[in-house]
């Protein structure tokens, strides 16, 4: 449907005009009777419910009057007065596709259609005076009154200005400007901050906050004993320098970008090298990469003038989305993916719920559908996951040159060997050797014998299905594979100039996948392959590998099929599938299935070997065999690029972006150019002219520069709010992904702006901000109760104390491993598999293949390295509220349910770890039960336990041994299980 003809919102004047004209048409009495008796009852029963009679009107279309039909809805006018028969109204009744299926509960009967067709064809005449009055809202489409008209009307859109630091009474408490802002709020309400946290509580808080791990008892002891005034500052410095810092803070970012390593849906296919993105994020935090650069790399790391391997890995950001490789509606699916990217970008980097404007203008915020599609225009060219290999080799120029040199050497070596082999073969036949690449083989077809089931291209091109895009899984070799996206073309496939090639279809990329369905009346046992390949190819019959060849040849060769390969064929339909890979030089692939053709005497080595080498002198035969062996070995040896394969962004084509009505890709509206949300008040961007041959359009760089600009009031506010959130447990604005009117107002807007400006003035460096925040008195408060403040401000909106928090899912698992001493601190690399109970694996449709096994020492690595698989949640992490990975997760939930408690009490993981914990206690504290309990509590509580607490634990162990007859080891393990369940272990002050 072409919506260019769509009438924009019709103004009152135009409607008056229509009304006047409608009035001029005078229906005859017969027409009135027809309308009242036949047409109107049908309209009432089939249309009015959604289009005019009830409060909720769909698609803005009123069918309760002729004026309403002329005005039309989002799809355009219902009646085309110039061609009544072609009116959209009638087209919608046809049920010709999903977009034209009205009324939705079923197609009208032929006689009903006849009535409405007649009525429309006669001009859709109403009985004068009976038309429902078109509501005013339909005449001028009324948006709810927008309170926010300019950027100045809403806190988050206002230009960022540095607020003055307020004056406070309790100057001693105000260690830095942050405290002045907090204190000013408290003093206004006549409240006081609670006392500072104990040193023990503070070191534990700081450790978890910056590294997600507990301090060791020795570290706690040393910190408490250190009375130097800068002891705390030094502690923060050392934690910020710890490599574990990136593991903790990187995980926050991974929540925001919905990091996962699989696509979801039926196959839940792996995202190749997604872990490199995870490592990139961890490294970026550890290296204190400026946040503006961090954003730029993720949005446009491939386009930047100073692109690095790292910045290319960063663009894996575009590949983290859920992705249905087999969507019901491909067009819609493409926009679903783009929407996921845009929603995540805007929510995570801007705190803006842009996604609400995909189908219509934002209900509450001044964000129009036009704004949404203007923003979408920046990323519209991003290739979808299907359209291309989504990985790329990253190499230095030297590496690339070396790689090409080695490829060339290999090719030359093999050419030379083939020449020598051909010479011996020719000599055997007593003929002069032919030049390998001289005459095109097409002029020299082998002799015809019986009818070949599948002739090769020399006998005329055959139609094959092919694709250049890597199929998502092995099923492409199966007969019933969905080949909707494949093309059909004549064989052979390759680039011109490849020796011996007969080109039917030009192919000049790295990989090609081919399919052909053939019918066999019988399976001749003398069936052979006639094959020309440059380079490696695999041939499948009915989904199974039938033959495989390495390297390249320069002419067609005939190969006998192995008995196993013959068994794969059957009478009737057979699916033939071929994959060919080329790494350098020309490429070509073509195959035939031939019968009776003598094993190609012209090209094969059979003639040499057929008579047990009697045709050749012994030495010559040895030479021949050696040459063959060298060739085979050379062909098998892969030339590795030596670089690094990464998941990255690609662009495909240059797409014009249009507004899509109701988000429907079939309802295209006005064109839009890349632009920023109008309410923010930025001038329209100028997209630089593309350099000739540019791989990408450069639009993403413009977006990246805007996002990472100090002038962007949202970016700095959004990240400053998150910094606060991850230190204090909640953002200054409690809805960090939504700074709009549906979100919460910030409790301390001035402090937020102060932090945002402070952050940009510190060159967007996070570590110095962490230190600033953690050095404040506000951060160092205790988490204790204070009756007056509790009564006045139970939610701690004013920060009169520090809020307690439960450990995050990762912290729970990592801490269990840390206290029992088994945590493996190894960083980076491909993700690991933890031990997952059989019952959980059984919930997958592929229980045997859904999860892998990592070696024991790998299983105890930090949780940030556990594979994130969309269709299978790691049970321990899932139980403790890990982030959902399908959309940006701004805040983790903290749930407390019995099934969670059952996990920490009964699960194999907790019990195994408790047993290891007990072993550690025996090893480090010796046989003395008091000492064991003391150490166990020190490790879990991160403090010196009281005598009473120790005594209680000792008593528990004795009861296990005395009353339940448990061994000392078992008793201690049970005590350890208890300790790992302590609230004091799970919660931080």
């Amino acid at each position: 449907m072409n919506l260019k003809t769509l009438i924009p919102l019709v103004c009152i004047l135009a409607l008056i005009g229509i009304a006047a004209r409608a009035g001029e048409v005078a229906p005859t009495a017969e027409q009135i009777a027809f309308f009242e008796k036949d047409a109107l009852p049908l309209l009432k029963s089939a249309c009015f419910k959604c289009h005019g009679a009830e409060a909720k009107v769909k698609a803005g279309l009123y069918l309760t009057s002729r004026a309403g039909m002329l005005k039309g809805g989002q799809g355009g006018p219902s009646i085309d007065e110039k061609a009544l028969g072609k009116s959209l109204f009638l087209d919608m009744l046809t049920y010709r596709d999903e977009e034209h299926s009205m009324p939705p509960d079923g197609k009208l009967k032929p006689e009903q259609l006849a009535i409405l067709t007649k009525w429309i064809n006669e001009g859709a005449l109403w009985k004068p005076g009976t038309e429902a009055v078109l509501p005013e809202s339909a005449i001028v489409k009324k948006e709810p009154e927008q309170k926010v008209k300019t950027a100045e009307d809403w806190w988050a859109y206002k230009a960022l200005k540095r607020p003055a630091v307020p004056d406070v009474k309790n100057k001693a408490w105000a260690a830095n400007p942050i405290d002045s802002f907090i204190l000013a709020g408290l003093e206004k309400e006549d409240l006081n901050p609670v006392a500072p946290a104990s040193k023990g509580a503070l070191i534990r808080r700081a450790y978890y906050d910056l590294t997600g791990l507990p301090p060791t008892p020795a570290e706690v002891e040393a910190f408490i004993a250190n009375t130097a005034p800068d002891a705390y500052e030094k502690l923060i410095d050392s934690l910020l320098a710890s490599p574990h810092y990136g593991e903790k803070w990187g995980r926050h970012w991974l929540d925001l970008v919905r990091f996962a390593e699989t696509n979801g849906y039926e196959r839940d296919g792996a995202k190749p090298f997604a872990w490199r993105y995870r490592d990139y994020v961890i490294r970026a935090f550890n290296d204190d990469k400026p946040y503006d650069r961090f954003i730029k790399e993720q949005i446009a790391g491939d386009e930047l003038t100073d692109a690095t391997p790292d910045s290319k890995i960063a663009t894996g950001f575009y590949r983290l989305n859920i992705w249905d490789d087999e969507p019901a509606d491909r067009k819609l699916a493409k926009f679903d993916v783009l929407d996921g990217i845009l929603a995540t970008t805007c929510q995570s980097m801007l705190g803006m719920s842009m996604n609400c404007a995909r189908c219509h203008n934002h209900k509450k915020d001044p964000i129009l559908a036009k704004d949404y599609y203007s923003m979408l225009a920046f990323i519209h060219d991003v290739s979808d996951m299907q359209s291309t290999d989504i990985t790329v080799d990253i190499n230095s120029p030297e590496q690339l040159a070396d790689y090409e040199k080695r490829l060339h050497e290999k090719s030359a070596r093999e050419d030379d060997l083939m020449k020598k082999i051909a010479a011996i073969e020719a000599e055997t036949r007593g003929a002069k050797p032919k030049e390998n690449s001289a005459a095109p083989a097409a002029k020299d077809p082998p002799k015809e014998a019986a009818v070949d089931p599948l002739p090769d291209a020399r006998h005329g091109p055959q139609k094959w299905q092919y694709t250049l895009m890597r199929p998502n899984n092995d099923e492409w070799t199966w007969q019933n594979y969905n080949t909707e996206s494949w093309k059909e073309a004549p064989s052979g496939f390759g680039s011109k100039g490849t020796p011996g090639a007969v080109i039917g279809t030009v192919w000049h990329t790295d990989n090609i996948w081919l399919r052909k369905l053939i019918t066999l009346k019988s399976v001749p046992q003398n069936l052979k392959l006639s094959l020309h390949h440059d380079e490696d190819c695999e041939i499948y019959f009915n989904g199974k590998l039938a033959a495989q060849f390495h390297g390249h040849v320069s002419k067609y060769e005939v190969h006998p099929l192995s008995p196993d390969a013959l068994k794969l064929l059957k009478v009737g339909e057979n699916q033939i599938a071929v994959h060919c890979l080329q790494t350098t030089g020309g490429q070509f692939i073509d195959m035939g299935l031939v019968v009776n053709a003598a094993v190609d005497a012209d090209t094969s080595d059979d003639i040499v070997l057929a008579k047990n080498g009697k045709l050749l002198p012994k030495e010559k035969l040895a030479e021949y065999n050696a040459l063959k062996k060298q060739l085979a070995e050379s062909r098998k040896a892969k030339v590795e690029a030596g670089g690094m394969r990464v998941m990255a962004v690609f662009e495909r084509g240059r797409n014009a972006t249009k507004i899509l009505m109701r988000g429907n890709p079939n309802l295209e509206g006005d064109d839009v150019a890349p632009n920023f949300p109008a309410i923010l008040g930025f001038p329209a961007p100028v997209i630089p002219k593309e350099a000739p041959g540019a791989k990408t359009s450069g639009k993403r760089t413009v977006l990246a520069n805007w996002l990472a600009s100090k002038d962007n009031q949202l970016t700095a506010r959004a990240i400053a709010n998150r910094l606060w959130q991850f230190h204090f447990g909640r953002g200054l604005c409690r809805t960090p992904n939504d700074f709009g009117q549906l979100g919460e107002l910030p409790t301390h807007p001035e402090l937020l702006d102060w932090l945002a400006t402070e952050f940009t003035s510190r060159d967007w460096k996070m570590k110095s901000m962490h230190k600033l925040i953690m050095m404040s008195s506000a951060y160092r408060m205790a988490s204790s109760d204070e009756p007056k403040a509790l009564a006045k401000d139970p939610n701690n909106n004013l920060f009169w104390r520090f809020d307690m928090r439960r450990m995050s899912a990762e912290e729970v698992r990592d801490s269990v491993l840390a206290v029992n001493g088994t945590l493996n601190p190894k960083m980076f690399g491909p993700s690991i598999y933890t031990e997952v109970p059989k019952e959980v694996l059984q919930s997958s449709s592929q229980p045997k293949n859904v999860w892998g096994v990592s070696p024991p020492e790998e299983r105890t690595r930090r949780s940030v390295y556990v594979l994130v698989k969309r269709s299978l949640n790691e049970p321990i992490l899932n139980t403790f509220d890990q982030a959902d990975t399908d959309s940006s997760c701004p805040v983790r939930f903290t749930t407390t349910v019995p099934t969670q408690t059952l996990t920490s009490l009964n699960s194999k993981f907790f019990n195994d770890q408790a047993a290891l914990f007990a072993e550690r206690l025996v090893k480090e504290a010796g046989a003395n039960v008091d000492a064991q309990v003391k150490l166990g509590l020190r490790l879990t509580m991160c403090r010196e336990p009281s005598a009473k607490e120790i005594e209680h634990g000792v008593k528990l162990i004795k009861r296990f041994t005395n009353e339940d007859n448990l061994s000392d080891g078992k008793a201690l393990a049970n005590f350890c299980l208890m300790a790992l369940n302590l609230n004091e272990f799970m919660y931080l002050d």
């Binding site: 919930s843 899932n878 408690t901 996990t903």
Partner: protein, 486 residues
């Protein structure tokens, strides 16, 4: 809170908690989820009320017809023309190639080779409903069943279609029907999960846990897998070798430490909520196995469900457990017939006779047994039973040979019984070959709206604020329930 000798062991946990200033029950309910963000969400979602225990029973929007739902999910997509949608005109077309619009795994096609229905149909009940010979036992229950013959869905591909049937969207990440039900109504029995899923022994469905995920809602509302053998719920049983006495000691001691810890942090209700959760977990550990212990059911009942026969034993046991869970107040129970891939479920691509004989044979008796048993116990009125797959199957073959049918989301049949549903009725129709719904078409959203309505929830008002929107199961545009059957 002191830990004087003799005192700790002499006291019950209940007394200790009373001393903390609140009764056990209220502590259990208060602050089970004291997360500021979620409280914020709840304010939006609940119209000003704060949500305390997310699973505490909540008042519905209006008087409910059904208290519980049992969703019998025939994973893979059963063929409607071979089961409940009688198409006499399809038989004579067997093996003929005709013009017909279809869309399945094999893409969009305009012609196909007809596979005539492979079973005979006959009339059952007072209503005279035609049911195929695949379901003779369910046939006996037709007077309690309302058939919806005109279902349609957005996708004919398993992955997205499963998500659609379970969460209303083809995009992953949204909460499932059972999550919405427990979010809206809470759970009647704190000793059992409110949303239970029982899978086929062959494995889970495609996308696994996504089919019972709570999406953007807290994990509190996700489905909990329950198994008929072994420990019914993951980690329900204490580890091997741990006696009840030992576990009680651990819990008592833990409680003591935790109370001491909480005493100076009295305003943090999360701590007390976690303390209570140990008691609740202990109760669940004790009571959940009772629900799956069918040893006390009489032989007649077991036989009614087909538990005495090999082929129906597995699904029959699950159906019986479903009834027992309904009796215990579980809100939403989903049973999967079929798991894994291809013929391990109803996905009959190559041989519909083999496939459907197997799966209908495994489920017919158990399903009929469930309906009859619920009825004789007076539970059917308050229990909504839903039957169907993620889509139906085409009237034509997928391959050149064989009797397999491809997927069909253009038209398929689902049925409901109990919970205020009008029995002995049929609504909607596919065309005369069963290729597409043509009369009174109902989208999956209408089915969801019907289920929520029967539970006393207004589908167009049950919302959860997320990603800048008041999200609903039935989407922003809303959907009406299927009024003809309620």
């Amino acid at each position: 809170m002191s830990m004087k000798k003799n005192q700790f062991c002499g006291r019950t946990r209940r007394e200790m908690l009373w001393e903390l200033g609140s009764g056990f029950g209220s502590v259990a309910l208060a602050g089970m989820l004291g997360n500021d963000f979620f409280s914020g969400q709840a304010i939006h979602a609940e119209g000003g009320k704060k949500l305390l225990n997310p699973l505490a029973p909540k008042a519905p929007h209006f008087a409910p017809k059904a208290k519980s739902v049992i969703f019998l999910f025939m994973y893979g997509g059963p063929s409607h023309v071979d089961t409940f949608d009688y198409k006499p005109k399809l038989y004579p077309l067997d093996e003929k190639t005709i013009q017909i619009k279809t869309f399945g795994r094999g893409g969009k096609k305009n012609e196909g080779r007809v596979i005539g229905p492979k079973w005979k149909f006959k009339q059952y009940g007072k209503c005279g409903k035609y049911v195929s010979d695949l379901f003779p036992n369910v046939g006996e229950c037709v007077d309690d069943i309302a058939f919806i013959h005109s279902m349609y869905a957005d996708s004919p591909i398993h992955g997205s279609a499963m998500l659609m049937m379970n969460s209303g969207r083809i995009l992953s990440g949204h909460p499932c029907l059972g999550s919405w039900a427990t979010y809206g109504l809470g759970s009647e029995n704190q000793n059992l999960p409110g949303f239970v899923v029982m899978l086929d022994p062959k494995g889970g469905p495609i996308s696994g846990a996504k089919n019972w995920s709570s999406g953007y809602m807290p994990a509190t509302y996700q489905g909990v897998q329950l198994r008929a053998s072994g420990a019914p719920i993951l980690n329900l049983a204490p580890p091997e070798g741990m006696s009840d006495a030992t576990q009680r000691k651990i819990l008592e001691s833990l409680n003591d430490y935790n109370l001491e810890h909480a005493a100076s942090r009295i305003s943090n209700s999360n701590l007390t909520a976690r303390i209570s959760s140990f008691e609740m977990a202990y109760n669940m550990q004790k009571h959940a196995p009772e629900v799956v212990d069918i040893s006390k059911e009489d032989e007649k009942t077991k036989s009614l469900y087909g538990i005495d026969q090999d082929k129906t034993k597995d699904f029959g046991t699950k159906c019986l457990l479903a009834r027992r869970m309904v009796e215990s107040g579980v809100r939403f129970i989903q049973l999967y017939s079929g798991g894994g891939h291809n013929d391990e479920n109803w996905d009959a691509h190559s041989d519909v006779v083999f496939n459907h004989t197997l799966h209908a044979g495994n489920t017919d008796k158990p399903i009929a047994g469930l309906l009859k048993d619920l009825k004789q116990r007076g539970l059917l009125d308050s229990t909504l039973v839903v039957w169907g797959g993620e889509f139906g199957r085409q009237p034509t073959a997928e391959y050149a040979k064989g009797t397999g049918r491809d997927h069909n989301a253009y038209g398929f049949t689902m049925w409901m019984a109990g919970g205020g549903i009008k029995g002995g009725t049929s609504v909607g129709a596919t065309d005369e070959l069963g290729a597409a719904a043509v009369e009174n078409r109902f989208h999956v959203k209408n089915l969801h709206a019907t289920i929520l309505t029967q539970l006393g929830l207004d589908p167009n008002n049950l919302s959860f604020f997320f990603s800048g929107l008041n999200q609903k199961l039935v989407g922003v545009e809303g959907a009406d329930p299927i009024r003809q059957i309620i």
